[in-house]
């Protein structure tokens, strides 16, 4: 990866998706020595453009409007993990030798409709014929899982909010984050409830954003003006339907993907590894760091205090969740850490991004390494 760029995450009522993408792509290509006409593959990631923007395959119109004259353009629409899947495809293209210059672009415009419409769109990440038709929403599952976790491990409601508090502290130091203000546990008693005991303080906001990553092969990387970060490997796993799981508090798909990734690459995550995980709700962030074997089961709320490089951008909670773009924001933030341009100094040589659909329905892991 030799370039990356993101827009500020916000409700961009005044900008359409092309304007946002143009901004992100401009930042990505700057200093890379490449322009749009050098790109061989344009892989666009969006979860909901067909529902929200009435646009099927936006990659065609991004190519036409933003100067990608020689490109193979395609759209990856894979629900909440679209961005991770797009990166996997880019990775495979370059590793196989089929392409040498791939631009991955992710975007979403979640603010385009009132909440009661967008809530219905977002609920499409669950199984329509089971949950969609019955009006069961993603936040309902987060609440059920939070209940289970608190009962199983005796963890208090107040301690879970520590995750969100930390995310906001990180967002304040991240210029592109959506919610750049701190929160406190005192706000919990007045926080609007979404699905008891889940409140607005536990949940990602409604976000618009665009992000881009420039991926190239080794020989192009050597000629780039920036220090490359290597996208080493991608791994994934699909879980059982939520209601069929024996233990709602164990993200077994994330765990299975991690075991394969870690054994294949000889890496092990510690509390000092830079990771960027899907805290769609704070409880999901906590369960993820347990599934990644960084913390023991039931211990995540204590463990969080000892992780200086966790979700440095503020996570989905405070940086925001422009769904199709989110994994690309995560990788951009890890790249900043590994290149020394983040708000905190990082010495590790690997980092990991984690994306998942709903509560670990479909989990994806992306392993990055400093270029040697």
């Amino acid at each position: 990866m030799v370039g990356s760029g993101v827009t500020k995450v916000d409700r961009h009522y005044d900008k359409n998706y092309l304007v946002l993408i143009d901004e992100a792509v401009g930042k990505t290509l700057a200093n890379s020595g490449l322009d749009a006409s050098d790109i061989e593959y344009l892989i666009v990631s969006t979860a909901f453009s067909e529902s929200i923007l009435n646009q099927a395959d936006p990659s065609t119109y991004i190519a036409q409007n933003l100067g990608f004259r020689n490109v193979k353009a395609l759209t990856v629409s894979s629900g909440e993990v679209s961005g991770a899947v797009a990166l996997d495809y880019a990775h495979a293209l370059i590793r196989s030798g089929k392409a040498s210059r791939v631009l991955v672009v992710g975007f979403e415009k979640m603010s385009e409709y009132p909440s009661w419409v967008i809530n219905r769109v977002y609920s499409k990440i669950l199984e329509y014929e089971v949950e969609g038709i019955k009006n069961v929403a993603p936040s309902d599952y987060a609440a059920l899982i939070m209940n289970d976790y608190m009962r199983r491990y005796g963890v208090s409601r107040e301690s879970i909010i520590k995750w969100s508090i930390k995310m906001h502290e990180n967002a304040v130091k991240t210029p592109h984050a959506q919610l750049q203000f701190t929160i406190s546990a005192d706000s919990l008693s007045k926080a609007l409830r979404i699905s008891e005991p889940l409140t607005m303080l536990d949940s990602h906001p409604t976000s618009d954003g665009a992000a881009a990553l420039l991926l190239v092969n080794e020989s192009v990387a050597k000629k780039a003006g920036t220090t490359p970060i290597e996208l080493v490997d991608v791994e994934s796993s699909v879980n059982l339907p939520i209601y069929l799981r024996d233990d709602l508090t164990y993200f077994s798909a994330t765990a299975a993907a991690y075991k394969r990734l870690s054994s294949r690459n000889g890496v092990k995550l510690t509390t000092n590894t830079a990771i960027n995980v899907y805290d769609t709700y704070d409880i999901y962030g906590l369960l993820t760091i347990e599934a990644l074997e960084i913390c023991a089961r039931g211990e995540a709320v204590k463990c969080v205090d000892e992780m200086p490089y966790l979700n440095v951008g503020g996570g989905l909670k405070a940086r925001g969740h422009p769904v199709g773009a989110t994994p690309l924001y995560q990788v951009h933030e890890l790249r900043e850490l590994m290149s020394g341009t983040s708000w905190v100094k990082y010495d590790g040589d690997i980092s990991l991004a984690h994306a998942m659909s709903g509560p670990d329905n479909n989990a994806w892991l992306i392993l990055l390494k400093g270029w040697v």
Partner: protein, 134 residues
């Protein structure tokens, strides 16, 4: 929201009744009528109709607003462990929020999932209520 006529009609078996799927290979039982066992992937499965009774093992009171469901808020969504073994997700209705508790015996009853559009179809399906004593 409008659901497809044909999709809803095809789903009657999973919405007018509760079926469970028993695997002839690994022996596990899963809720809903399925083509294959979700645990081992086997096609050697049997569909059995559930009596519709079970125990409430988890629930949440939801204020999440989606267009078409305003009339039913707040919604109670719960996980029910059917007497036949597997867990199913569904809406719990007719409950006093103060009376809800884990362990409540519930039964499946036919109710409206939605009927917002006065000119459209009414979508019927099963929800759970605290068991009505005989």
């Amino acid at each position: 929201m409008k659901h497809s006529i044909s999709i809803f009609w095809r789903l009657k078996d999973n919405h007018y009744k509760i079926y469970v799927t028993k695997c002839g290979d690994c022996g596990r039982v899963a809720s809903l009528k399925r083509l294959k066992c979700p645990y081992c992937g086997s096609r050697n499965v049997e569909h059995v109709e559930s009596r519709g009774f079970g125990e409430l093992i988890n629930y949440t009171v939801s204020y999440y607003r989606t267009e078409g469901s305003e009339q039913y808020l707040p919604r109670v969504v719960g996980l029910v462990k059917l007497d036949e073994g597997p867990v199913i997700v569904g809406e719990i209705t007719d409950v006093d929020l103060n009376e809800l508790s884990i362990g409540t015996r519930v039964e499946a009853v036919l109710r409206k999932y939605s009927s917002e559009d006065p000119n459209g179809l009414i979508y019927y399906g099963l929800k759970f209520i605290p068991v009505i004593k005989k």
